[in-house]
């Protein structure tokens, strides 16, 4: 009799612990969601309040004078990011192709690949100091192109790793069929591997762009900042992120408002890239 009661108590306790832990787990998931909605909600609410046409059309005015905008930062951000992508995308894809197509059986190349994988999480501010020493110090002034180079260095590992992973999913029998027809390696890569992995590579590229479009730290001492509209890539250029940093830290209420509005554009721009990448992957799964 006593034994049975003991058994029942054990089972009750196990059930209780189970329910407790499952509840805790559910609560942590809710905790994560709370932050997501809180951040996005704040950005949306405050951003929309302060967004206006003049934000996109005007350059900044001195603090205290109404009617300033952030045209210089939007244009600068676009130029710096596109130039970064222009440098980073081909090198990233090329590196990924080498890892997957040439280096599959080489220990050294595998080592390179793992280092590249580590570089994905590399502190971006260190890349900024590196580019400063190489491109800013010798020339004696900040330049937009050095900002683009640091962004390129940050996106290359992301693209290379995604490309490598996706190319490894292409069945080897396809490549062998190409070789059997007497194709060269570059022809097999161009006409078989890449064309089979197009969507995946595209995903990597978009993820890489999403990664760099929100970066601030490496731009602080490469492209620096500029309060005026400029399209000269050899001169300092404003970017959205650095401008947000400057404006949010600044003392003026007007600056804070513009920082919120800029954050709205920046956040949803970045998330747009991210969701596009997800959608491309999803489409890929569906079409087989």
């Amino acid at each position: 009799m006593g034994n049975e009661r003991h058994l029942r108590r054990v089972i009750l306790r196990r059930k209780f612990v189970n329910i407790l832990m499952l509840t805790l787990s559910t609560l942590t998931a809710m905790y994560g969601l709370v932050w997501l909605f809180w951040i996005l909600g704040d950005i949306l609410l405050n951003g929309f309040k302060f967004i206006s046409l003049q934000l996109f059309l005007n350059d900044p005015t001195p603090p205290g004078i109404e009617g300033g905008g952030l045209r210089h930062a939007f244009v600068g951000h676009f130029i710096i990011t596109s130039l970064g992508a222009l440098i980073g995308v081909p090198i990233g894809i090329g590196t990924g192709i080498f890892f997957a197509e040439y280096g599959r059986h080489s220990r050294i190349v595998k080592g390179f690949r793992n280092v590249t994988d580590v570089l994905v999480s590399f502190p971006s501010i260190v890349v900024g100091t590196f580019v400063y020493a190489l491109m800013v110090k010798p020339l004696g002034h900040f330049s937009a192109v050095s900002g683009s180079v640091s962004l390129a260095l940050l996106m290359i590992p992301v693209i290379a790793i995604t490309t490598d992973e996706i190319l490894k999913l292409v069945p080897n029998s396809l490549r062998e069929a190409g070789y059997a027809l007497g194709a060269h390696r570059w022809q097999v890569i161009k006409d078989i591997s890449i064309s089979a992995a197009k969507r995946g590579i595209l995903t990597g590229v978009i993820l890489g762009i999403a990664r760099i479009s929100g970066e601030t730290a490496p731009l602080l001492f490469t492209s620096f900042n500029n309060n005026f509209f400029s399209t000269d890539i050899t001169k300092p250029m404003a970017s959205l992120t650095v401008t947000i940093f400057q404006y949010a830290m600044g003392p003026y209420e007007e600056w804070h408002r513009q920082a919120w509005a800029a954050s709205l554009i920046l956040t949803f721009g970045t998330l747009f890239f991210f969701i596009t990448a997800k959608a491309v992957v999803h489409g890929m799964r569906r079409s087989g």
Partner: protein, 316 residues
């Protein structure tokens, strides 16, 4: 014709090989060398030990010590990881074991979205939204409750300003949760269904299966993911740049402003007016490079590699 194709062959092979060599080897090596070269004046003047243990950071007297920034980095990273770890395991468990199959992608995407928000947004939001809340409500509350406990209470001394170690660690923890929980979730999902069902077959509850089957099986993955997140948190700049106050002091309580290596570099790099000042900032960057690269390599090569072998796949 034949010769042209062979030329293209050799050309593509060597170009791509050069890319891979540059990205996977020369770039990190070159970064290390440049950082060492740029910090040489500071290395010569302060040496390694004196720099690491020096507590003064005085640009006017040109005396630089890294201890406050180094300890600040370690403190903020440690606190953020300590908050993020249990939450991440909970989220991973929820997504992989609890949520209905149809909602799984929704939850995973939500977590990944949280991770895709640029870090400067976290920082700005932390400054405008979280810091005032911390200063007005959370920190006075903590002082009233935990602050009353002897010894432990020392951690909550000082005026609650909202710009301090606690707020910075907290915002950083929100930022690394998505990263950590995605890795842990991926690890959880690698557990063979068969093992789990064997557990259920013995009458185990869901929690017991997670505790006794899933977690032991994926432990290297969890540890690896944790180390990877710590490595990433170490180098995080913008999320904490707004919230530490950038004061070179060793904080005596969690409510005092401090600085981290990244914040010091971000705030002072363009203002460094003497060679030794700039060199000292490069020295800080070098320390950060060694710390985070070392940690990430450890996670990658040791922990995740071991896990990869267990799962019969190479590299995760």
């Amino acid at each position: 014709m034949k010769r042209r194709e062979e030329l293209v062959e050799a050309l593509t092979g060597s170009t791509l090989g050069l890319f891979a060599l540059t990205v996977g080897f020369l770039f990190p090596l070159f970064t290390l060398l440049v950082l060492i070269f740029e910090s040489l004046p500071a290395i010569r003047k302060f040496g390694l030990f004196n720099f690491l243990t020096g507590t003064t950071w005085d640009p006017v007297a040109e005396v630089f010590g890294a201890l406050p920034a180094l300890l600040g980095t370690l403190l903020v990273t440690f606190l953020a990881s300590a908050i993020a770890l249990p939450v991440s395991i909970g989220i991973a468990m929820f997504i992989s074991e609890l949520s209905p199959k149809k909602l799984k992608p929704v939850f995973s995407t939500a977590v990944e979205l949280l991770g895709a928000i640029p870090s400067i947004i976290y920082g700005m939001w932390g400054l405008f939204v979280i810091a005032p809340l911390m200063a007005d409500y959370v920190e006075p509350f903590l002082q009233e409750t935990l602050g009353r406990i002897p010894l432990l209470g020392k951690l909550f001394d000082g005026a609650p300003t909202g710009v301090d170690a606690l707020t910075a660690s907290f915002v950083l923890s929100v930022m690394i949760i998505p990263f950590m929980s995605t890795i842990v979730k991926d690890a959880f999902e690698m557990t063979p269904e068969l093992l789990k069902e064997a557990g259920y077959g013995l009458g185990a509850t869901k929690w017991e299966v997670v505790k006794n089957v899933v977690i032991p099986y994926t432990l290297p993955g969890i540890v690896g993911g944790m180390v990877l997140s710590v490595g990433r948190a170490l180098g995080e700049t913008m999320a904490v740049a707004f919230l530490t106050g950038n004061v070179h002091q060793i904080p005596k309580s969690l409510l005092e402003p401090l600085t981290t290596i990244t914040v010091a570099i971000a705030n002072e790099f363009t203002e460094a007016d003497s060679d030794i000042y700039l060199a000292s900032l490069y020295y800080l960057a070098l320390i950060l490079f060694v710390l985070s690269f070392g940690l990430l390599m450890l996670a990658k090569f040791y922990l995740l590699e071991r896990l990869g072998k267990r799962w019969g796949t190479k590299g995760t």
